[in-house]
Every structure is written in structure tokens, then in C-alpha cells.
């Protein structure tokens, strides 16, 4: 039985390799603003771009949270949340508005809102919290005239932390919604 199980695992591995879309980077890449269309183009790639850019995670969080907003901001496409909260803080109003302008002025443009939580708590309940955060951003965009069809949401819960570590420094960077333009 052991042998059969192993063979099955091998086959599956092969099937998986064949069946899975190639994605050299991961979602941080898609979330970086360098690939976000500013105003004139829709062709900027999302996850499929050849270069892997990693969202800065370090101490320069002011740049992220300081209301710099705007689609041209590389790290600005992430909205951070307080512990156990899904309310969007006022400092992200500019970011929401700029994103809504992008989407309303480019009706074929699509965006994916990826909700995340920190690692504390149960994994499936965290999926719910991540979804709640993604929905909060979705509602904010809908209120500013973005069409429902342009927005999808996904919750990764605690499964895709942006920073590793069992402390608030890491957790504060993990409680987030990433705004990812789809190719």
C-alpha cells in the first residue's frame, strides 16, 4: 500500500507541474506598484511580469501608511489594518480614491483584493477575517463608482504572511489587503 501511495504522489506531482500556471514570483510581485498602470496604460503585467519585485517589508512603513496613496506609489497598493479590525483607516482615503479613478477610467481593468490576517487565532476563522477586510476595500471602491465586475476578492487568511515572526512588528505588516491589478 505504501508503494502505491508513493507512486500516486509522484504522478500527482507531475500532473501538478503540468497543470499549474507558471508563476515565477508570487503575489507580492503582482502587488507592487511598479506594475500598476498609472493612467495611460492597461498593459502593465500583474503576476506574469518577468522581473520579480518584492514588496519592501522593512522599517520604511511610513511610505506605505503615510497616505502617499496614488497608483504610482510602489508600496502604496497595500492597506494595513489594526488587530481584529476591518475598518479602513482615514490615511488610506487617497489610495482608495486613486485606485477607484484608475478603475472607473479604465472599465476593462480588473483588480483583485487579497485579504490577509496575522498569524494569531484559528486558520479558518482568519480566512473569514481576511475576507472581511477585502470586502471592506471592495465596498469602498464600489462607493466610488467602480463596477462590481472589475473587482474580485480572495482571502488568504494567515497563510501568506508578508513578514515572518511572532511579534507585532511582523503582525502589523501581515494584517493587510493587497490591491493587485490583473493582467
Amino acid at each position: 500500500m505504501k508503494r502505491i501511495l508513493t507512486i500516486a504522489a509522484l504522478c500527482l506531482g507531475a500532473a501538478l507541474l503540468a497543470g499549474c500556471p507558471k508563476k515565477p514570483g508570487n503575489f507580492e510581485e503582482g502587488a507592487t506598484g511598479s506594475q500598476v498602470p498609472s493612467s495611460s496604460t492597461q498593459s502593465a503585467g500583474g503576476a506574469g511580469g518577468p522581473s520579480t519585485t518584492v514588496t519592501p517589508l522593512g522599517g520604511d512603513q511610513e511610505g506605505v501608511t503615510g497616505g502617499r496613496g496614488g497608483a504610482e506609489s510602489a508600496a502604496g497598493k497595500i492597506i494595513y489594518f489594526d488587530f481584529d479590525k476591518s475598518e479602513i483607516k482615514p490615511e488610506y482615503a487617497d489610495l482608495i480614491s486613486a485606485t477607484a479613478r484608475d478603475l472607473t477610467s479604465h472599465p476593462t481593468l480588473k483588480i483583485k483584493l487579497e485579504g490577509n490576517t496575522d498569524e494569531r487565532g484559528t486558520r479558518e476563522y482568519n480566512i473569514g477575517l481576511g475576507e472581511r477586510r477585502a470586502q471592506a476595500v471592495r465596498r469602498a471602491l464600489l462607493l466610488q463608482g467602480v463596477a462590481e465586475a472589475q473587482i474580485t476578492t480572495v482571502s488568504y487568511g494567515a497563510e501568506r504572511p508578508a513578514a515572518e515572526g511572532d511579534d507585532e512588528t511582523a503582525w502589523s505588516q501581515n494584517r493587510r489587503v493587497e490591491l493587485v491589478y490583473l493582467p
Binding site: T6, L16, R123, E124, Y125, I127, E131, E148, V154
Partner: protein, 431 residues
């Protein structure tokens, strides 16, 4: 803290490269003072390093349960192999209550016969006497089965050493993580990769017959629920609806799957999917997060987590149409992810205490007494052994995900530390 044993017999590694190489060290972090003393005598006089030491495995199983205290091999006063060789008076002076003896004889190049006998040292009574014939590959299972028989004979509780666990292991670091769904023996040995992905895998759940595992995969960058047959490797995507597809749980008869889905507005509710007809029935309907369903043993109700009253709490709802959920937990502001003991006398769940997440149990017989079993900061994902004696759960050790076990009464704690990667979301398979 006694480091009891390392598990990774050379025999466990097959020629196939998909065998996971994670190696578990089992540490008993706190034991039970009234553990039963037992001597497990080697089955062969001269150990062959190429062949599994079955008696050692039996002894390790028993010691790791926390219910037994095995005599150290260097303290053995003799090495009897059958009842007629045992000088009972000498063993009694060592304060051993029981002695297990046996022989292991090669029949052909790949086949062994094991004879074993269990005696009560005080009464000289022979409690067990069996012969097992097995291939070399079956020696490990044979050892676990012997441990099961000894455990049940002496304690009156069915042993669960010959069962399996599933878990998720995460290898590598950001942004290049790999996620694996692994099935291993209950002691962590024999790990086999069921599924591997660069995107998260979550929430493994066993089918009641132990043949399949349901899980969540983000391989398409959206969550889908799959059911994968372990022997054939065939898998079926059973839910990839818009929004959330999470938290699968097989009904006791294996014909239905409870799972969490969401509406377009992101409201998570619990549904039941009939696996034959694909009919979907909505069970909960509340604006809060309803998730983490767990079936009652009769298949007529679901236990689940809901934050409809603010923080997450545990509820139970009948599947009969028009039923309203009943809240079960009231102590504390965070109680989630219920799992019921095999006899449904107890509920294990995650509770928050002083900002830490710990495994607790609640008595379901009416008194609703809550007992917090663990003392970590990030203890989650409890899962009962099929005999109900032990709860396996995910914990963290120096920033790394590890598996740990605690006896259902909280008295025996142990930790399975993997040598490779992070380990999370253990699910204990059926007998």
C-alpha cells in the same frame, strides 16, 4: 525533558523520492506519575542495524503515550524471549508490573515471523500470546499493532499507534515557500507527500474510511476544495465557487461534505454538499463569519464557529430545515474550531487566555466544564486520536511551527519537532 527516541528508520525510506524527508523527534514534556511500568525485552539477541528493531518501536510507542514507563534497556537483568525463560521473581524486584517478550525470525529474505507474549509479573499470568507474519516493509506496522494490543490489554483503551496523521508542512521562506500535504504514521514516521504546491494548502480532513483526504488548495490563486484518494492519487475538485471555499469536513457516513462558502458580499456561511448528487444545502444564514464545521457523530448536526455575537464562539445547529443554532461556549471572548471526541463526550477547541491561544476541552455531558490543556502562545488546530485518549495540535517552538500532543485529560504533554520546515494543521486519521 527526556528525549526518548528519534524516528527515522532507514527502512522507512523507499526508493521513491517523494517520500518526505522530515524527521521527527518526540519529546515528552510532562508525563503522568502513575505511568504503568513495563519491561520490553528485545526480540532478537543480536541486533541487525539493517532491520527494524520492533521491540524498540513497541517500547517507544508505549512510553510516548505517557501511560507507560518502559524499563531502560541497559537496566534489563536478562533477555528472555518466551514465557518459560522469565525469572518472574527477579523482574518483580525491578518493580515492573508487566513484561513483553518475543522472537523475530526471518522466514525468507523478505519475510519475518514475530512471536510475542505479554505477562503480568506479579501473577505470572500470560495476558497476550500472538504470532505475526509480515514482510520487511510491514515490520513497522506490526510493531504499532503489538503496541496497540498491549495498550488495550493493560489499560482497556483501544490503542491508536497503528493509525496515521495528515498535516501541512511549509518549507522555505518568503517569497519562495512550498506547501505540502503529508500523511505519516501516528508517530511521524513514514511521511509521504500527498500534494505539493507553491500556493497555500489548508485544512486537511480525513474521510471516515481513511481512504481520502479533503483539503483546500490555493493553487489557482483562489481557494478550491479537493478530495484526493490516497492510494490512487486521483483527485476531484468538489468546490471552486466564487468567493470562499474552505473548511471541508466529511459527514460520518462519508457521503456529504460540510464546507464554508461565501456570498458575493463576502458573508461566510456553512453549507452541506452531497458528494453523489452535488446538491448544495445552506445550513447557516447569518451576517457574521460562520465556519469550521464539525459533524456530530449521528450526522444530524454540525458544530461550528461563529462571530455572530461579537467574538468567535462555538455553536451547534441541527441539519433539520428551519433549525436555529445553540451557543455552546460562554467563557472567554475567543472560542473557535471545535472538534468532538470520538464518543462525543468532549469538545476540543481553541481558546484565548491572557492573549495566548490554547487548546481547551469542554465536557458535553451537561456540566460544560472547560479545561485548558496547553500552555503555549499559539496552540491551534486540535484533532482527537481515534481512541480519544490524545489530542494532537499545532504549536510554535522558537518561531517554528511544530506538532504537539496532549492527553485528553491534560496530564501528558509531548512535542513532535520536525527537522525540516514548519508543520501545521495536524488531522488524526481513523482506525
Amino acid at each position: 525533558m527526556t528525549k526518548l527516541s528519534r524516528f527515522l528508520a532507514a527502512a522507512a525510506i523507499t526508493v521513491f523520492s517523494t517520500v518526505a524527508h522530515a524527521d521527527f523527534t518526540v519529546e515528552i514534556t510532562s508525563g503522568q506519575s502513575e505511568a504503568v511500568p513495563i519491561a520490553v525485552v528485545p526480540f532478537v539477541s543480536v541486533a541487525n542495524p539493517d532491520v527494524l528493531d520492533v521491540a524498540q518501536l513497541v517500547g517507544d510507542d508505549l512510553a510516548r503515550s505517557g501511560r507507560f514507563k518502559t524499563l531502560d534497556r541497559k537496566d534489563l537483568i536478562a533477555e528472555p524471549h518466551s514465557g518459560s525463560d522469565i525469572a518472574f521473581d527477579d523482574w518483580r524486584r525491578l518493580a515492573d508490573d508487566y513484561i513483553l517478550v518475543g522472537t523475530m525470525t526471518p522466514q525468507t529474505t523478505d519475510r519475518y515471523t514475530i512471536n510475542f507474549e505479554l505477562f503480568n509479573v506479579l501473577t505470572h499470568q500470560r495476558l497476550l500470546g500472538f504470532q505475526i507474519s509480515t514482510s520487511t516493509a510491514g515490520l513497522r506496522l506490526a510493531g504499532h499493532q503489538i503496541a496497540d494490543m498491549v495498550f488495550e490489554k493493560i489499560l482497556g483503551i483501544r490503542g491508536a499507534f497503528a493509525t496515521r496523521i495528515a498535516y501541512i508542512s511549509v518549507l522555505g521562506h518568503l517569497p519562495n515557500k512550498r506547501f505540502r500535504l503529508v500523511v505519516a504514521d501516528a508517530d511521524g514516521a513514514n511521511p509521504h507527500i500527498v500534494m505539493e504546491s507553491t500556493e497555500p494548502l489548508m485544512s486537511p480532513a480525513w474521510s471516515p474510511d481513511g481512504q481520502s483526504i479533503a483539503y483546500v488548495s490555493f493553487e489557482e490563486r483562489l481557494p478550491s476544495v479537493y478530495i484526493q484518494h490516497l492510494k490512487t492519487g486521483e483527485r476531484q475538485r468538489v468546490s471552486a465557487r466564487a468567493g470562499v471555499n474552505q473548511a471541508p469536513a466529511f459527514s460520518p457516513d462519508g457521503k456529504q461534505l460540510a464546507l464554508t462558502l461565501s456570498t458575493r458580499d463576502g458573508n461566510l456561511d456553512i453549507y452541506v454538499l452531497d458528494l453523489a448528487t452535488e446538491a448544495l444545502t445552506r445550513i447557516t444564514d447569518d451576517p457574521g463569519i460562520d465556519t469550521e464545521p464539525e459533524w456530530s457523530k449521528d450526522g444530524h448536526s454540525l458544530y461550528f464557529t461563529s462571530d455572530r455575537a461579537g467574538g468567535p464562539q462555538i455553536y451547534k445547529i441541527s441539519l433539520a430545515p428551519g433549525s436555529h443554532p445553540r451557543r455552546l461556549t460562554f467563557q472567554g471572548s475567543y472560542n473557535a474550531r471545535p472538534r468532538i471526541s470520538p464518543d462525543e463526550s468532549q469538545l476540543a477547541f481553541v481558546t484565548q487566555e491572557d492573549g495566548a491561544y490554547r487548546i481547551a476541552t469542554m465536557d458535553l455531558s451537561g456540566r460544560n466544564d472547560v479545561q485548558i490543556l496547553t500552555h503555549g502562545r499559539f496552540d491551534v488546530s486540535p484533532s482527537y486520536a481515534p481512541n480519544g485518549a490524545v489530542v494532537i495540535y499545532a504549536s510554535r517552538d522558537h518561531g517554528r511551527g511544530v506538532l504537539a500532543m496532549v492527553s485528553a485529560d491534560g496530564r501528558v504533554q509531548q512535542r513532535l519537532v520536525s527537522t525540516e520546515g514548519e508543520v501545521q494543521e495536524p488531522a488524526w486519521g481513523p482506525f
